[in-house]
Assembly symmetry: C2
Homo-oligomer: 310 residues x 2
């Protein structure tokens, strides 16, 4: 393969992502705000993507280690859930919450190939490291997690990115982490959910998954509702009360889409609890997270939500 | 004056704001992320603004009731603190926090003229109303505040927008509100701070002010740090623990800039507490809010912070 200078790749990706991003934003706008009207304008010189056919443009084995425009449009096929501090990595896309020093959301696109066992990729070689693209004021550090009692919990799971070592390495950026209870959650129930998502690639040609933290309110003795969460380290990294995954599986045969949504408390969960216990209507996650998931999806293609026909 | 169709104005504003927004984003980027490199590219067909001279382009009495590109570049002269769900109104710019149903930040540009008493504008004629540009899932309603014990507290103060009734009316959108303790805060100490900001227009030709909520952590008996805040109504509108204002005054004579930063707890504050008690280093607000304020400001022009020479 010809080597393309990194700067050149960045420029290409940048332009394309910019166009996709603007196009996406215009499509999903609500109301008639000035800014959002902006983005409906045609921007000369910027290519636009078809969101419908993008996923089939480039076979996975030609994607390689850099974020290409088509890869990004593949991952983000059904729209951006938000627009705050978006980072596009070679195999996942992330929006960073600078106030909480954890992601808002992380978007992945999985196929049987990207999650297949690959002896050339070893997660033991990947290191947890700070994300230097985040301003130092808002950047989580390894020291924030040390002796906190919490794991550095991947939002984009390492095991979902097995095509290249670089793909796996990039999931170890601290911008992709949130503090998770280790034993009984990150290493157990949450891992079970991650494995379930990977197994969906046996059923669907393409699997899209959006993952992120929640800060859910609870009622206290005074009858009022409160949000309460711990923050750790000198950078006050938020410990989310819950985590969500919203998933869309795309059938190769009939083009039908199947959606699943899960919310799990960031607590020790008994290993015999079935995953179905954590299924919730996708709208519940949207309201709580302040995000809209898969809102560019053609509702006519949607065949099921949480295993039930729609 | 010739009447320009609203759609046309929207398109003009849109294009210009888009360009300013992109330019702003490119200037302030940290690191070498793909997305942010994007935005450094020249986008053909889009005008760019000089951030230095924009404030003098259009006299305030010609600005009228619609958001013009120059007005937006005036308000936002020193850069956007964030990019999430930005709304540009005729005389202020807002970023909305969809998770908390309150603003992230609100930006205003004040002059002696915009804050002067004007008998043609009556805030009693303005009504608190929902912002229909916000998706219904994330939209605060008047019913959320009812019987909550909290005021609908303006972030962009009504008294800062006295040139036209429409300017004043737009500050009554619920997207510009956050729940504030009424007696002893919103109607007292916070009002004193708002009045102080308006009085700065007697000293400075241009005053820029960014206002927003904070959710500050506190230590509990277990030695751990927690963020805790109430949420009100069926839309779970967050009650911030604190509010901030970061202000830049621009001298007409020597072009020097003077910065002030305040953080006030959302609590009853004794009326004899001097404002200086609430002054904090601007960096403290930035770290807590997850935002960067006035980061396009030329540091050489900055003469003082909180009254102290820099």
């Amino acid at each position: 393969m010809n080597k393309i200078p990194a700067r050149h790749i960045l420029a290409i990706c940048g332009t394309a992502l910019g166009a996709f991003y603007l196009g996406s934003y215009a499509e999903r706008r609500q109301g008639n705000n000035v800014n959002e009207n902006t983005l409906k304008l045609h921007l000369p010189g910027l290519p636009t993507f078809s969101t419908v056919s993008a996923a089939t443009l480039i076979p996975a084995n030609e994607v390689n280690v850099s974020a290409t425009p088509s890869r990004i449009s593949q991952i983000m096929k059904y729209g951006f859930p938000g627009l705050d501090h978006v980072r596009s990595h070679s195999d996942y896309v992330l929006s960073y919450d600078r106030r909480n020093r954890v992601p808002h959301w992380v978007f992945e696109h999985l196929t049987a190939q990207t999650v297949a066992k690959n002896d050339a990729v070893d997660r033991a070689k990947s290191e947890f490291r700070q994300d230097e693209s985040i301003h130092p004021f808002f950047r989580a550090q390894n020291t924030d997690y040390r002796r906190s009692g919490y794991d550095r919990g991947h939002m984009a799971a390492a095991g979902n990115h097995r095509l290249h070592q670089k793909h796996c390495d990039e999931t170890f950026l601290l911008s992709n982490m949130a503090p998770q209870v280790g034993q009984g959650f990150n290493r157990d129930a949450w891992n079970t959910l991650e494995t379930h998502v990977r197994k969906l690639t046996n059923v669907y040609a393409n699997v899209y998954v959006c993952t992120g933290p929640l800060y859910l309110p609870h009622k206290e003795d005074d009858g009022k509702m409160y949000v309460k969460y711990e923050v750790i380290g000198t950078n006050t990294v938020a410990v989310p009360t819950h985590f969500y995954k919203v998933i869309v599986g795309e059938s190769a045969t009939d083009q039908k889409l199947h959606m699943e949504a899960y919310v799990m408390p960031n607590k020790v969960i008994s290993n015999d609890t079935p995953l179905s216990v954590f299924q919730v209507p996708p709208e519940t996650v949207e309201r709580a997270a302040g995000l809209l998931f898969f809102d560019q999806l053609n509702k006519k293609q949607l065949a099921s939500i949480n295993g039930k026909k729609v």
